[in-house]
């Protein structure tokens, strides 16, 4: 369903931008309140729930035994998918995976994969015969804006708490999945002509293009994506990149804190 964008909303967002203000009173680089909870689902080998403003997302990790690719006999595999099912909002309709949910899953997948936080060699059980396939499934239950950041956070938090169910598959003892690093995504949306962090549903409705940046522990870029209609300048990117650095450090601390508990 294509959503209706009231002209007054775009007008109002442009006016607020002039005063450097936002609809809900936040600062331009201020995120909404959020909570992170891990190990919250029976049957998932690792799980996390993220509530970011009114956005609610779950991620669950499952493992399967498979034969490795012939050209990489000692490497396991990773797959990350997202489902934007009709539960998530009035605008979502039933049917095969939409281009939007495929984009969402792939952007999160790239950030985790390219950060190298999973050592694929460590997923090998018998070279050339048996390796672990790690599957992260993200389930969006309520979309009130910026599902990308919520999904990215839920995925890495679920992965970091995952237990490899080796006993159930009769290939050794259960053990914690080895994860080095915590790649974090920060998303920016052009609202009223300028970029803001962590856009709300209304800001997305009346806004333009979005940029997703995933950074690793050292602040290196691991995944970038520009989505929706619109263009941006190198200067604008430099500005949001700096904000992304701070945001990712903050969120990484919260993931670490949740793991301690």
């Amino acid at each position: 369903m294509v959503e209706l964008v009231p002209t007054l909303l775009r007008q109002e967002l442009a006016r607020l931008a002039e005063d450097d203000a936002r609809l809900d009173g936040r600062g331009r680089w201020e995120g909404r309140e959020f909570t992170l909870e891990t190990n919250c689902l029976y049957n998932a080998e690792g799980s996390a729930k993220v509530v970011m403003g009114g956005t609610v997302v779950y991620a669950g990790v499952k493992f399967e035994l498979r034969t490795p690719w012939p050209d990489r006999p000692t490497q396991g595999s990773l797959m990350c998918g997202a489902e934007l099912r009709p539960v998530a909002g009035r605008k979502y309709e039933p049917g095969p995976p939409s281009p939007q949910s495929i984009e969402l899953g792939r952007v999160v997948d790239r950030g985790i994969r390219e950060s190298g936080c999973i050592d694929m060699e460590s997923l090998c059980i018998v070279p050339g015969e048996k390796v672990w396939g790690v599957m992260i499934d993200i389930h969006v239950l309520s979309d009130r804006g910026n599902i990308f950041d919520a999904c990215g956070l839920a995925a890495i938090a679920a992965l970091r708490t995952a237990i490899v169910p080796a006993e159930r598959f009769d290939v050794g003892d259960d053990h914690k999945l080895q994860i080095k690093g915590t790649p974090i995504m920060a998303s920016f949306t052009r609202v009223g002509g300028r970029f803001v962090l962590d856009a709300s549903e209304q800001e997305e409705l009346g806004g333009d293009e979005r940029i997703h940046i995933t950074l690793g522990d050292e602040g290196h870029l691991h995944s970038l994506q520009k989505g929706l209609r619109g263009v941006f300048t190198p200067a604008e990117f430099a500005e949001i990149f700096e904000v992304a650095q701070t945001r990712c450090v903050e969120l990484r601390k919260i993931v670490a804190k949740e793991e301690e508990n």
């Binding site: 029976y42 609610v56 099912r85 009709p86 995976p97 599957m135 499934d137």
Partner: protein, 242 residues
């Protein structure tokens, strides 16, 4: 039903493996209004099951061919998340979820005052996040609370409960092992105030006496769960008092 008669499901003293009495349900907690994007929502945990339901509408029914001139249609989607079971489920609809969606929709259509909304549709989305056993019942309970939360008029709510038979003994609310190795399962949707039944399925082997006892257990459980449903709605809107 699996019918593996040699798996022990009752302790020597006649109690169940998880320590429950024969007519005891697993712990149930319910929260209403947990999904801000939905017009009504609920989360139900029942044992280790976690079900979430969201309600949207009434809205114009699309495609046109599903429209009814005299009433609303209820469009239910029951779906299990890929990580909800011990082996990952491939995303997408399957025959099982289609059947459950259909009978759940018909159960809900028997309590919602659908004639108030001609040509419309009310969307009910049931997502199972963790499955232990009895997810269709937990889904119905969640859907009822979500419909009430959305302000959809109904003549009663529906409580989903199940009883079954293990080792030739009728027990209330089968857990995973009991469901896998038991002899019968009788999931029903009960209207707690009128005492009517809006949802009924059964598989396995039950005598009439066993059916009657299982139903008796189900009615007892429906009463208990209904109180938790009412309490969830009150807690959300009445500051926990009342």
């Amino acid at each position: 039903m699996g019918g593996y008669g040699d798996v022990q499901l009752l302790n020597d003293d006649g109690s169940r493996l998880d320590g429950r009495k024969l007519d005891e349900i697993r712990p149930v907690t319910i929260e209403a209004g947990i999904l801000p994007a939905a017009e009504g929502s609920a989360m139900v945990t029942h044992g280790l099951n976690v079900a979430v339901a969201a309600v949207y509408g009434p809205m114009e029914a699309h495609p046109r061919k599903i429209q009814r001139q005299d009433r609303a249609v209820i469009d239910v989607r029951y779906n299990m998340a890929p990580f909800s079971t011990s082996d990952r489920i491939r995303p997408g609809f399957n025959r099982r979820s289609r059947e459950i969606s259909k009978v759940t929709a018909e159960a809900l259509e028997s309590v919602v005052l659908v004639e108030r909304y001609p040509r419309s549709k009310i969307r009910v989305e049931i997502e199972i996040l963790a499955a232990e056993a009895g997810t269709r019942c937990v889904g119905i309970t969640a859907a009822s609370v979500a419909l009430a939360d959305a302000g959809i008029p109904m003549r009663d709510m529906i409580v989903g409960v199940a009883s079954g038979k293990i080792e030739d003994t009728v027990v209330l609310d089968l857990d995973k092992a009991e469901d896998n190795y038991g002899q019968a399962d009788l999931p029903v949707g009960i209207l707690p105030n009128t005492g009517e039944i809006a949802f009924l399925q059964m598989d396995g082997d039950l005598s009439l006496e066993e059916y009657n006892l299982a139903m008796e257990y189900n009615f007892k459980a429906a009463k208990e769960i209904h109180e938790i449903m009412v309490d969830a709605l009150r807690r959300r809107y009445d500051g926990g008092e009342a």
